[in-house]
């Protein structure tokens, strides 16, 4: 396998696109680490489904207050200017178009923007949480993900095969190999690692990568 970005590096790249003053929801798990990589001089305000706006980092171990958690049930802290509200108001923010960016994980993304990230099929206990709400309403719905599955299969596809989270909802995908925009039912390649050829990238992608404008080098710092 070729060189690829770590999860932290993918998160770092996604964080660079968050504008100053943006309202942002980070999906539970992997996307949460995007918060660590906010560029200097820009301020994002983080929203969590369970009714907090303007939260900050985790508290030091032992100082958790378990009434102050995020949607992933991890302890958080508040920044000045934070607010609490109930769940209906919280999802009014989500569906009502008030978030600027939602950054989510993915099992699969299709070239029309379909997202599958909640269920791997029929076995086990299904759980959806806020994923199906978060894909609607945010001005930008971005995905961060490894470019392929653990056994090397493409995650960027012509059509998802797993149960959908939402239809035609994703607008940008940050992977371990590249950055693509979803425009008019196509994956448009915007950036790729300099070390991978376009042919090799296409070979691990399950749909055509369209070149429509310049393709920049995907340059990310070394991170832990």
């Amino acid at each position: 396998m070729t060189e690829k970005l770590s999860n932290a590096q993918i998160a770092w790249r996604a964080a660079q696109d968050i504008e100053d003053g943006a309202y942002v929801n980070l999906g539970i798990g992997f996307p949460e680490i995007v918060a660590k990589f906010q560029p200097e001089g820009r301020e994002a305000i983080f929203h969590t489904e369970n009714g907090v706006l303007g939260f900050g980092e985790a508290p030091p171990k032992g100082q958790e207050d378990w009434d102050l958690i995020n949607a992933g049930k991890k302890a958080i802290t508040l920044k000045p200017g934070a607010a609490f509200f109930h769940h209906a108001d919280s999802f009014a923010m989500v569906r009502g178009g008030h978030l600027d960016v939602a950054i989510l994980g993915a099992y699969q993304v299709a070239q029309n923007g379909d997202l599958a990230n909640w269920s791997v099929g029929a076995k086990g206990v299904p759980a959806v949480g806020g994923a199906m709400d978060l894909v609607h309403g945010a001005k930008r719905v971005a995905v961060i993900t490894d470019h392929v599955t653990k056994d090397g299969k493409p995650k960027l596809l012509e059509a998802c095969t797993l149960p959908l989270t939402g239809v035609a909802c994703v607008t940008r995908v940050y992977t371990s190999l590249c950055v693509v925009d979803i425009e008019n039912g196509r994956f448009v390649l915007r950036e790729k690692l300099p070390s991978i050829s376009l042919e090799d990238l296409q070979a691990v992608t399950g749909a055509t990568l369209v070149i429509d404008g310049p393709v920049a080098d995907l340059i990310v710092p070394e991170l832990d």
Partner: protein, 240 residues
């Protein structure tokens, strides 16, 4: 982040001709008189904004506030539940002369349509107005043996509302019954503009006591000693 705007004039500078404008308040309670009058000042100076669709529970009282906007000819259409007041002359004259449109909406439906717009709910069902002439032309559906009317969300380009405290993040509190439609309108408008009696630093409002979280607010402007519409009307004031 700093959503504070130094002057009323700047706060309302981009409200354009033909805009759909929510105006907070119920009677004089929670009515953003200073923001309304800043808009009138702009109209007097520049001829804009005009052809406005104004959403408010009422349709102005006396010769100030929304009534003065109507008198000035700035308003093409009112969306409200109760276009009557102690002194409804401004609206009544124009309405009877066919010079202003009216969309009459039951008060609870008006509130819920505004909330729905803010919450990304394009339509909902309510028992209100079923079987009445205000439901004419609206889809009806039966649930559990009872009939309900389908109502659509009600969005706006701008909201101007009055709060009590505000911080630079746009978090807002309201004074007593001055809350009314104001938090809903902040949710439903593309741009929400709030006048507050006092701007406090971030953290100056307890997070549990925030009524309108800042995500719903775009601009706040301090009006340290806001006038009360009711007092102005009782004093017979005219804004023109």
């Amino acid at each position: 982040m700093d959503k504070t705007i130094p002057t009323l004039a700047e706060a309302v500078a981009d409200i354009h001709d033909g805009a759909v404008l929510m105006v907070g308040g119920f009677g004089g309670s929670g009515a953003p008189i200073e923001l309304i009058h800043a808009l009138i000042d702009r109209f007097v100076a520049t001829g804009s904004p005009k052809n406005l669709t104004v959403i408010n529970n009422n349709a102005g009282n006396g010769r100030i506030g929304i009534a003065a906007m109507i008198d000035m000819g700035m308003v093409k259409k009112m969306v409200c539940s109760f276009p009557r007041s102690a002194d409804p002359r401004a609206f009544t004259e124009k309405y009877l002369a066919g010079e202003i449109e009216l969309e009459l909406v039951p008060q609870g439906t008006l509130a819920e349509r505004i909330r729905a717009a803010g919450a990304g709910i394009p339509a909902f069902y309510t028992p209100t107005s079923f079987g009445t002439e205000l439901a004419k032309g609206k889809p009806v559906k039966e649930f559990d043996g009872r009939s309900y009317v389908e109502e659509r969300w009600l969005k706006a380009d701008f909201a101007i509302v009055k709060g009590q405290l505000g911080d630079p993040y746009g978090n807002i509190t309201y004074r007593m019954a001055g809350r009314n439609f104001n938090p809903l309108m902040c949710m439903a408008a593309a741009k929400s503009i709030v006048q507050v009696s006092k701007i406090v630093p971030a953290g100056g409002i307890e997070p549990e006591q925030v009524i309108t979280p800042g995500i719903f607010v775009d601009r706040i402007v301090e009006v340290a000693n806001p006038r009360q519409e009711e007092d102005m009307n009782r004093a017979g004031e005219v804004y023109a």
